[in-house]
Symmetry: C2
Subunit: 660 residues, 2 copies
C-alpha cells in the first residue's frame, strides 16, 4: 500500500463503509452486490487479456465470447433479478459494452411489452433461449431523434398476407443499431406502415435477418458493420438495407395497433404508452452519468493523492498534486456532482417504479411531467458528466492519455449518451416545451402542481422590481436558501424565454419561427430548471441521512455543488437580481474554504463508491496507489514490444538509410 494513500484514508472524518451502504440503498444490498461482484472477479473464465491490446475484430470476438459465457454463468449462479444481472454485468464489462447488449436491453423488453398473446408464446421462448438473437433497428442514416422522419416502409400485401419491407432511399438504410452488423439473426425494425393505400406511421416488425442455421444473411437483407467509431470497439453497430423482404402479417407486433388480414388498420389505444420505457431508459442513463463520473473521480483523486509534483514551498518535498488549489477546483466539484447524479438517478428510478404502478392502473397523470423532466435531466447530466470525465482525465496530466488510466475508455464509451436516446439539445427543447406550456397555464391562472409549481409564483414575485431587495435574503451558507435561489433563477429564465417568444410573435413571425428564434433562451431555461431539480434532490437526500459524520461531509459536498454552480453561472444570478456583487465575492471565498475542508475526505469519498480494481481497470486508480510499477508492467505487455525490433525497421528504415 502506498503510504500517501494510507495516510489519506486515516484522515477521513466519516465511516466509509456506512456511506457505501447509503449509496447502495442499504447494508444488505452492499453485501449482495459484493457477493455478485466476487463471483465475476474470482471466475477464471473472465481473466481475459487487456482489450486495449487487441484489434477491433479481436475485441468484438472477445466480447461475444464473454457475452456467451456470461449468459451461461448467470443461469449457473441462478441470478435473475434485473438489478443483480445489471450488477453482474457491470463488473464483467468494465467500461465497455456488451456484444449482445441490445438483445437484452431492447429486443426482449419490446417483445415482452408489445407482443400479443400468440406472438409472446412464439417469440419469447426463442429469444430467451438465444435461438433468436435480436436487436432494435430504429435509427437510419438520415434520421435519429426525429422518429417521424424515418423512411423504411412496411407495405401490407393482402394477397399473400405479408408485409413487404423496403429501404426506399440511401438515407433510409438502418444505421447504428448495436449488434446489427454481425451478431443478430433477427431485428425489431421500426417502419412506416402502409396498408390500403394509407400510411399509418411507425410500427414495429420482427424481421429475420440471417439463417438460424448458418447465420448467412437472408435474401434481400444487406447487413454489415458500420465501421470503427469513437469507442464501442467491441460492438458491431450495423447497417441494414431491406430489399423487398417479405414477412408474414403476424410478424408485426400487435399488442396495441393491428393490421387485420384484409389490411384494415386498427389504432393503438394510447400514444403515451411508450413514454414509460423512455423514462426508464433515461433514468438509467442518469444513473450511468453518476457512475461514469464516480469512476473518473475515483481514478483522478486517488492518483492526485500519490502523484507528487513541483513545489509550493521552496526547499520542501514535492507536494501531492491534490494540495494544489487548482487541482481541488477541478476535481472536488465533480466529486460533488457524481454524488448529486447518483442521488438523482436513485430518485428517478423510484419515481419510475411508483408511476409504473399508477400506469398499470390506467393513471397517466404524472407521466408528461416525468417524461419532460427525464428528457432534460438526461441531457443535463450527460453533458456535464462527459465534460467532467475529460476534466478528470486531463487532471492526471500525461498519464491520463494512456489507455492504462482507463479514462479514455470511460469517456468514449460514455459520451454517446449525449446523442443516443434523444439528442441532448432536442431533449432540452422538449423539457422547455413543457416548461413554457406550464408557464402559460400558470399565467392563465391555472394552479400547477409537481416540480413546476414554482411557476405559479411567476406573476408578481418574479418581476424585477420586487426582487431588487431580494439579494440580502439569500444565505449562501444555507442549502435550503440556495435551493430557493436556484428555483427563482429557473423561474426567471423560463419567464425570459417565454418573453422572447412573445417578442418574436410581436414581429409577426409564426409560432414555430418564434420558437426557433428563442431556442437559445429555451435551452438556457431548461438547463436552469434541471440544475434546480438536482440541487433540490441533493438537499432532500441529506434529510434522509442520520449518521452525523456522513451528514456533515455530504452537506459540504452539496454546498460545494450549489455554490460552484452559482459561480459558473454567476451572470444568471446577477442578471436576475438574485444575488449581489458582494455576495458573489463571498461565494468565491466560501468555495475556496469548502475545497480545503473537503481535502482530507477526498480519497475516502471516492472509496465509498466502492469500485473494486477489477471494475475500474485503471492503473492510475488502483486502490493501493502503487501506480508507477504497474504502469511499467502494463506497458511492457504492449504488442509492439513483442519483438525488440519492429518489422518496419527492416522494411522501411534500413532501406531509407541506404538511399540517403
Amino acid at each position: 500500500m502506498n503510504p500517501d494513500i494510507t495516510r489519506e484514508r486515516e484522515n477521513a472524518t466519516f465511516n466509509v463503509e456506512k456511506l457505501t451502504h447509503i449509496l447502495d440503498g442499504g447494508i444488505e444490498k452492499t453485501k449482495r452486490r459484493r457477493e455478485i461482484e466476487s463471483l465475476v472477479i474470482s471466475d477464471p473464465d473472465f481473466q481475459s487479456e487487456d482489450l486495449n491490446f487487441l484489434s477491433r475484430s479481436e475485441r468484438y470476438d472477445a466480447a461475444v465470447k464473454k457475452s456467451a459465457q456470461m449468459i451461461l454463468k448467470l443461469r449457473e449462479h441462478g441470478i435473475s433479478d434485473p438489478e443483480e444481472i445489471y450488477c453482474y454485468k457491470s463488473v464483467f464489462r468494465g467500461h465497455h459494452h456488451e456484444a449482445l447488449g441490445l438483445h437484452f436491453v431492447m429486443f426482449l423488453p419490446t417483445l415482452y411489452t408489445q407482443c400479443n398473446k400468440e406472438q409472446f408464446k412464439k417469440w419469447v421462448p426463442l429469444a430467451e433461449s438465444l435461438k433468436i438473437i435480436g436487436t432494435y433497428a430504429q435509427t437510419e442514416m438520415g434520421h435519429g431523434t426525429h422518429l417521424r422522419g424515418l423512411e423504411t416502409t412496411a407495405t401490407y400485401d393482402p394477397a399473400t398476407q405479408e408485409f413487404v419491407l423496403n429501404s426506399p432511399t440511401i438515407t433510409s438504410i438502418k444505421w447504428w443499431p448495436g449488434g446489427l452488423g454481425k451478431t443478430s439473426n433477427h431485428a425489431i425494425v421500426l417502419a412506416q406502415l402502409h396498408t390500403q393505400g394509407k400510411c399509418h406511421g411507425l410500427h414495429a416488425f420482427i424481421v429475420p435477418l440471417r439463417s438460424m442455421n448458418t447465420h448467412i444473411p437472408l435474401p434481400g437483407v444487406v447487413v454489415g458493420d458500420i465501421g470503427p467509431k469513437f469507442g464501442f470497439d467491441e460492438v458491431d453497430n450495423g447497417y441494414l438495407k431491406l430489399e423487398n423482404v417479405r414477412i408474414p402479417r403476424d410478424y408485426m407486433l400487435m399488442k396495441y395497433a393491428k393490421v387485420e388480414a384484409d389490411g384494415t388498420y386498427v389504432k393503438p389505444p394510447s400514444a403515451k404508452l411508450t413514454y414509460g420505457t423512455m423514462v426508464f431508459i433515461r433514468s438509467m442513463i442518469v444513473r450511468e452519468a453518476g457512475r461514469a463520473l464516480a469512476k473518473s473521480c475515483t481514478i483522478a483523486i486517488r492518483y492526485s493523492s500519490v502523484r507528487h509534483q513541483s513545489e509550493i514551498r521552496p526547499g520542501e518535498p514535492e507536494p501531492q498534486i491534490m494540495d494544489y488549489q487548482t487541482q481541488q477546483y477541478k476535481l472536488f466539484p465533480l466529486l460533488a456532482t457524481a454524488y448529486a447524479y447518483t442521488f438523482v438517478g436513485q430518485y428517478m428510478n423510484q419515481v419510475y417504479h411508483r408511476i409504473t404502478g399508477d400506469i398499470n392502473q390506467g393513471d397517466f397523470s404524472e407521466l408528461p411531467e416525468l417524461h419532460a423532466l427525464s428528457a432534460g435531466l438526461k441531457a443535463f447530466t450527460t453533458w456535464t458528466a462527459s465534460e467532467g470525465i475529460e476534466v478528470c482525465r486531463m487532471a492526471c496530466g500525461g498519464h491520463g492519455y494512456s489507455r492504462c488510466s482507463a479514462l479514455p475508455d470511460i469517456y468514449v464509451n460514455f459520451v454517446p449518451t449525449c446523442t443516443y436516446e434523444g439528442e441532448n439539445t432536442v431533449m432540452m427543447l422538449q423539457t422547455a416545451r413543457f416548461l413554457i406550456k406550464s408557464y402559460r397555464q400558470a399565467s392563465a391562472g391555472h394552479q400547477l402542481s409537481g416540480i413546476v409549481s414554482y411557476l405559479n409564483e411567476s406573476e408578481g414575485r418574479l418581476q424585477p422590481q420586487s426582487v431588487s431587495t431580494r439579494p440580502t435574503v439569500v444565505n449562501i451558507n444555507d442549502l435550503a436558501s440556495l435551493v430557493e435561489t436556484y428555483k427563482l433563477r429557473a423561474a426567471k429564465l423560463v419567464e425570459l424565454a417565454a418573453k422572447s417568444i412573445q417578442l418574436e410573435l410581436q414581429k409577426r413571425v409564426s409560432q414555430e419561427d418564434a420558437w426557433n428564434n428563442s431556442a437559445i433562451d429555451l435551452v438556457r431555461a431548461s438547463d436552469a430548471h434541471c440544475h434546480y431539480v438536482v440541487v433540490k434532490l441533493f438537499a432532500a437526500k441529506l434529510g434522509e441521512i442520520g449518521d452525523t459524520g456522513i451528514h456533515s461531509v455530504l452537506s459540504t459536498l452539496a454546498l460545494l455543488y450549489a455554490l460552484q454552480g452559482i459561480q459558473q453561472h454567476s451572470g444568471d444570478f446577477l442578471q436576475t437580481g438574485l444575488l449581489s456583487v458582494p455576495q458573489l465575492s463571498q461565494v468565491s471565498q466560501r468555495l475556496k474554504e469548502l475545497l480545503a475542508q473537503l481535502r482530507p475526505n477526498a480519497v475516502a469519498l471516492v472509496d465509498a463508491f466502492d469500485y473494486c480494481d477489477e471494475m475500474l481497470n485503471s492503473v492510475l486508480g488502483r486502490y493501493d496507489g502503487n501506480v508507477y510499477e504497474h504502469m511499467f508492467e502494463w506497458a511492457r505487455r504492449s504488442p509492439l514490444n513483442k519483438t525488440e525490433v519492429h518489422e518496419s525497421y527492416h522494411k522501411y528504415l534500413k532501406p531509407l538509410q541506404a538511399k540517403l
Copy 2:
C-alpha cells in the same frame, strides 16, 4: 454536387478565394501551397488504406512507411523551406502524427542550436542522412512540466572521461517521448549533471540506444513502447530505462555549458536562451489550435448544410439543420474562434521572428513578456479548441461518432496539446506570475510598456467607484469599445487576484501559500488577459483588410466572437461593473441577430480555409456534400465485413445456442 451546398455557395456575399489569400498571407502563398498539396494528392505512393481499419501495429508500420517515403519525396521535389515542408507534411499526415516527428521537430533542431562546432560536424550529417534517428527524451514517468524534478542522472567519471547515465528510480524512467519505443536509435536525454560531487541541474546528452546496424537495443538500455493511448496510434511513444550506460564526455551538448576533461563544470552564459524555442513551439501550437478548429468547423458546417432533420414549420420539408438557432449557436462562435486563433497564430509567428532577430543581437528585453504571453495563449487556445472540436463533433449527431467523420481523430490527436509542452493550468499560472509582477511594478509607480501596459491604469481608474458610471460608455456594436471592455475586465481580474494574495498574506501565511490559495483567481486573471489579447488581435487584423465584402463578414465574425465571450463570462462583466444588466440583454439579442446574419456565409467561410477533401479525410465534410452514399461505401470496407459470418458465430454463439 449536392444542390443544398451549391445553393449555400451561391448565397455567399464575399469572394472566398480572396479570403483564402488573406489566410495564407498572400496570393503567391496560396498558389505555392496548392502546388505542394497537389504533389502529395497526385502521388500514387500516398494513396494508402484507411488508417481506421488497421491494427495499431499496422498503423505504426504504415506511418513509418509514409515517413520514409516522404523524406525521399521531399528531396526529390527539392522542398527544403520549413514552411513548405510543414505544408507538404500536413497533407500527408491528415489529422495524424508522423512516426519520425520528433527527429525533425526536436532532435535535429536541438543539435543545430546546442552542439559546439566539433559536435555539429560529427552529429548533424549523421542525423540529416537518417543514419541516426533521434528523439528528445525529457519527460519521465514521475515528472513532466516540472523539469527541475527530473531524476535521470549523468555522472561524470574523469577516470574514463565518460558520463554514466542512470535511471535511479522507477519514476525516473523516461516516458512518453515520441519515436522512442521502436523507431529511434539515438536520443537526446535530459539528465541531472553530476560532476566533482556536485549536481549542476539539467543538461542534454546524446545517448545511443540501438545498434546502428541491427537496431537491437544496446547494453544497459531498456527501451520499448508505452502501449496504446488516446490517439497517436501511429506513434511509438516510448519508455527508456538507463542502467549504467556510459557515453564519452563530448556526447554532452556543449555549446553553452561544458564539462572539462577533469570534470570542471563551466556555466552557460544565459538561462533565457531556451525561451526562444519554447515561444516558437507554443506559437505553432496556437496555429494548430486554429487549424484543428477550422477543420472541425468545415466538417460540421458543411454537414449541417446537407443534413435535413425534423421540422420548424409543420408541413414544410425538413430544414437543413443549420437553420436551427441552437445549431448556429454551437457552430458559428467556433467558426469565429477558428478565425481568431488563425490570426493570433500569425501574429505570434511574426513576433517570434522579429524578436529572434533582436535576440541574435543580444537584446532579450521583449522575451519575458512574449514567453509569458505564449504560455497563456497556448493554454487558452488549446482548451477552447479541444472543447470546440467536441462541440463540432456532437453537432453532427450520431455520425460524428463514426471514424469516417474524422472528428474523433481530430480530437484525440489535438487534445494532448493541453498537456504537452507545459500543462495548461501550469501555463496559465506562469502567465499569471508575469501579470502579478507587472501589476506590482505598476502599483509601485513603474511605467509598463507592451501588452500589459493597461496595468498602468490600475490605480485609480480601476477602483469600483470610478467605474460605476462606466457601463453606459460601452458600445456593444463597436469592436474597439469591446476591446477596451475586455482590457478593463483583464485589469480588474488581475487586481482581484493580486488582492486575494494580499488578503492571504494578511492572514500571515507564506508568500507561496498565499499564491496557491489564490490560484483559482490567478488562472481566471490569465484567462481574461489572453481573451483580451485575442479580441484585440482579431480587431487589429480587420484594419489590414481592404476588400469590403471580406471586411464586412470578418467584422461580423469578430463582433460575434467578442459578444459571445461576454455572454459566456457575463458574471465577470457584471461583477466588475463594466456592463449593466440591460446591456447584457442587448448582447443576447445582438448575438442572435449576428447568427442569422452569418448564416448565408457559413459554408463560404469554411470553404475559405481551403482544406481539400484529401486533407480533411472526412465523409461528413466532403466538398461536394454527397455524404450518405460515401458513408455507406466506407462502412462496407470495414474489416468486420470481409466475411459475411464472423468466426465468433461458430466459436461462441452456435455452441451457446446448443447449450440453452
